[in-house]
């Protein structure tokens, strides 16, 4: 490891903003774990008994005229030309009364996807501020009288930002995924592959590193953290929200979808498409057809975006004067 990178890592470690980001990400991730803990709670015997009692009451009412009322209403509707419906669907079933018992695979894992947002935002800010703080304080000029060429200084700062971002991702995973996993394990609801959480943790670390590299690249290009956040906000509003509405096929290119795909393994999305009906010659209809962005595809898109932004930052840094 070069002396420049070591110096940047020390600077990263002693910056208060680094610790602030870590604390905020840990707090948000902890709130995810707390929510998961609540959802994984075992129903109490009293709740189960109350559920059984409610079921018995509704069952009795259903047998005592409820079904007949339903059938009568069905006949009336049929007389008016409406399609009759199946009254059995309205019959009380015990499984609809007993409190749901969540499982890790179906209910725990999806929580981990919600950790991506705090990790991305925290890592982006961390990377951007690591660079822009130097431009703001004017210390970049002094730094460059010690480190040349500029590409060397750039690489060290981006690498340090990446390390910081990875730590943000790992912390989010440790607190959020660890807490969620613990909730399901302690409350005896860990039915499924708990080791999948470690994969999510690794992907969150990579996600944090990529987001921090994007932040650092934007920091080099724009030199102000407010400008970086402005660009990020513009991107979210125009590209992530508006563009898919105007052009549905742009959806797989949105970063939000690719982040989800990377963290959760895959992310489905729908695109309205003309679907031909084989029973009608030349006929068909427009339907929402589901597609899926795979995890690796999402990771590649994110890596390409990070690389493009980093190169743009390097070009601007090499060309622009430094005060």
């Amino acid at each position: 490891m070069s002396g420049v990178l070591r110096a940047e890592l020390v600077r990263l470690r002693v910056r208060r903003f680094t610790w602030l980001v870590l604390v905020v990400v840990a707090a948000v991730s902890a709130s995810v774990a707390v929510y998961a803990w609540r959802e994984a709670r075992t129903p109490t015997p009293a709740e189960v008994a109350a559920a059984h009692e409610s079921y018995q009451q509704d069952r009795a009412a259903w047998l005592d005229g409820g079904r007949d009322d339903c059938e009568k209403r069905n006949r009336d509707m049929k007389a008016k030309g409406f399609e009759p419906f199946d009254c059995d669907l309205f019959a009380p079933e015990l499984e609809n009364y007993v409190p749901y018992e969540p499982t890790w695979d179906d209910d725990g894992m999806p929580y981990l996807g919600s950790l991506a947002s705090p990790v991305v935002i925290g890592a982006l800010l961390l990377g951007a501020s690591l660079v822009t703080a130097e431009f703001g304080a004017g210390s970049m000029g002094l730094w460059l009288t010690f480190v040349a060429p500029r590409g060397r200084a750039f690489r060290a700062k981006v690498a340090a930002a990446g390390v910081g971002g990875a730590l943000v991702g790992l912390l989010g995973a440790l607190v959020g995924a660890g807490g969620t996993l613990a909730a399901f394990a302690v409350l005896h609801r860990l039915h499924g592959n708990g080791w999948a959480a470690s994969g999510v943790a690794g992907r969150l670390a990579v996600l944090g590193a990529l987001a921090a590299v994007v932040g650092a690249g934007l920091g080099f290009a724009l030199r102000h953290v407010a400008a970086v956040m402005g660009i990020a906000l513009w991107w979210v509003l125009s590209v992530e929200v508006v563009a898919p509405l105007a052009w549905a096929r742009a959806r797989p290119l949105t970063l939000g979808l690719n982040v989800r795909a990377w963290v959760e393994g895959s992310a489905p999305y729908t695109v309205p498409q003309w679907v031909a009906d084989p029973q009608l010659t030349g006929g068909g209809s427009v339907q929402d057809v589901e597609h899926v962005v795979r995890g690796l595809q999402g990771g590649l898109v994110l890596a390409v975006v990070a690389a493009v932004v980093a190169v743009a930052g390097l070009v601007v840094f090499r060309v622009r004067d430094v005060s």
């Binding site: 002396g3 420049v4 000029g141 460059l144 009288t145 040349a148």
Partner: protein, 317 residues
């Protein structure tokens, strides 16, 4: 001037100001800084001094012209030479949230300088007692000291200081002056830009004067001062009219000015004193008036708008 620490040729730089107007800051600048000694870079505000220093450090890209520092073309060969340069340009810009020591340690680490060197430079600038305080709590003078300490970390061959005595108390000014002299005596080159002409006059060996982005004078300080005229002698006596007549009687050019006799191109003061004593006049004051850097600077930069600036080719070195 055999060897040059800095050699600038045809350097040009302009900035774009609102609304999209190009403002030339440095115009075809040719500048030589001899290796070894203290070289003062003088000029009014806006004359292009700081931009010039930034260009030779590779922080600002010139539009045209060449920069050679310690024999290497900059910015292309900057990596080869950056380890031999220590620089503080404009204001000391350290990381404000970190202590002075932490700042120096980071820079030392980046430059692969042993950590023990940090204590040495802190001692050298007299900042060891406050080394653990955050830089944002430093006075401007302390920031200057810390920044100068940073420049010394690598024992540089070329030290570039931009207004190094800004904000320093008299003791600090004295210390920086002594430091510059000490570095020069060690064979290093100190390129210093400052408006403290009195301080520079005491320490500079050579000088360059910029005005409106161009070089208007360059050379040894002694030569520059000598070119502004010979020394004069001011004599205060009880009867200046009679004293002027007595001195003129010996073929010396003397006239009364402001209640004193001023002798131009004067003989030794002892001879003047002897002549006056011969006519019963005893000097109350004998002062040699030499052209100083301030007067030379003011004369060179007077009305330093573009029209008043001579072509650099006319300026001898």
């Amino acid at each position: 001037m055999d060897e040059l620490a800095v050699e600038l040729r045809g350097l040009t730089k302009s900035y774009v100001r609102f609304p999209l107007t190009r403002v030339p800051v440095v115009r075809g600048l040719n500048l030589d800084v001899p290796a070894g000694g203290v070289h003062a870079l003088l000029g009014p505000n806006g004359s292009g001094k700081t931009t010039t220093l930034r260009m030779l450090l590779g922080l600002v890209r010139p539009e045209s012209g060449t920069v050679r520092v310690l024999g290497h073309a900059v910015p292309g060969a900057l990596p080869a030479v950056v380890g031999r340069i220590g620089a503080v340009v404009e204001q000391p810009r350290l990381f404000p949230a970190f202590s002075g020591r932490r700042n120096l340690e980071l820079l030392a680490r980046a430059a692969d300088v042993p950590a023990a060197r940090v204590d040495e430079v802190l001692d050298e600038v007299g900042l060891r007692d406050r080394a653990r305080d955050p830089v944002r709590r430093y006075s401007l003078g302390m920031k200057q000291r810390a920044a100068i300490a940073a420049t010394l970390l690598r024992r540089p061959d070329l030290v570039v200081l931009d207004e190094p005595t800004n904000g320093l108390d008299p003791q600090g000014v004295h210390d920086v002056r002594a430091l510059m002299r000490r570095l020069a005596d060690q064979g290093r080159t100190v390129l210093v830009s400052s408006h403290a002409l009195g301080d520079l006059e005491q320490v500079a060996d050579t000088v360059s004067v910029l005005a409106a982005g161009r070089l208007v004078a360059q050379g040894r300080l002694d030569d520059l001062l000598a070119s502004r005229g010979a020394p004069r002698l001011r004599v205060r006596v009880a009867d200046p009219e009679r004293a002027a007549l007595a001195l003129a009687g010996h073929g010396w050019s003397a006239h009364v000015d402001g209640g004193a006799v001023v002798v131009t191109d004067p003989p030794p003061a002892a001879d003047v004193s002897r002549v006056l004593a011969g006519v019963g006049l005893y000097p109350e004051e004998l002062t040699v008036l030499r052209p100083d850097l301030e007067s030379a600077y003011l004369a060179l930069t007077a009305g330093s708008g573009p029209a008043a600036v001579r072509d650099p080719a006319e300026v001898g070195s």
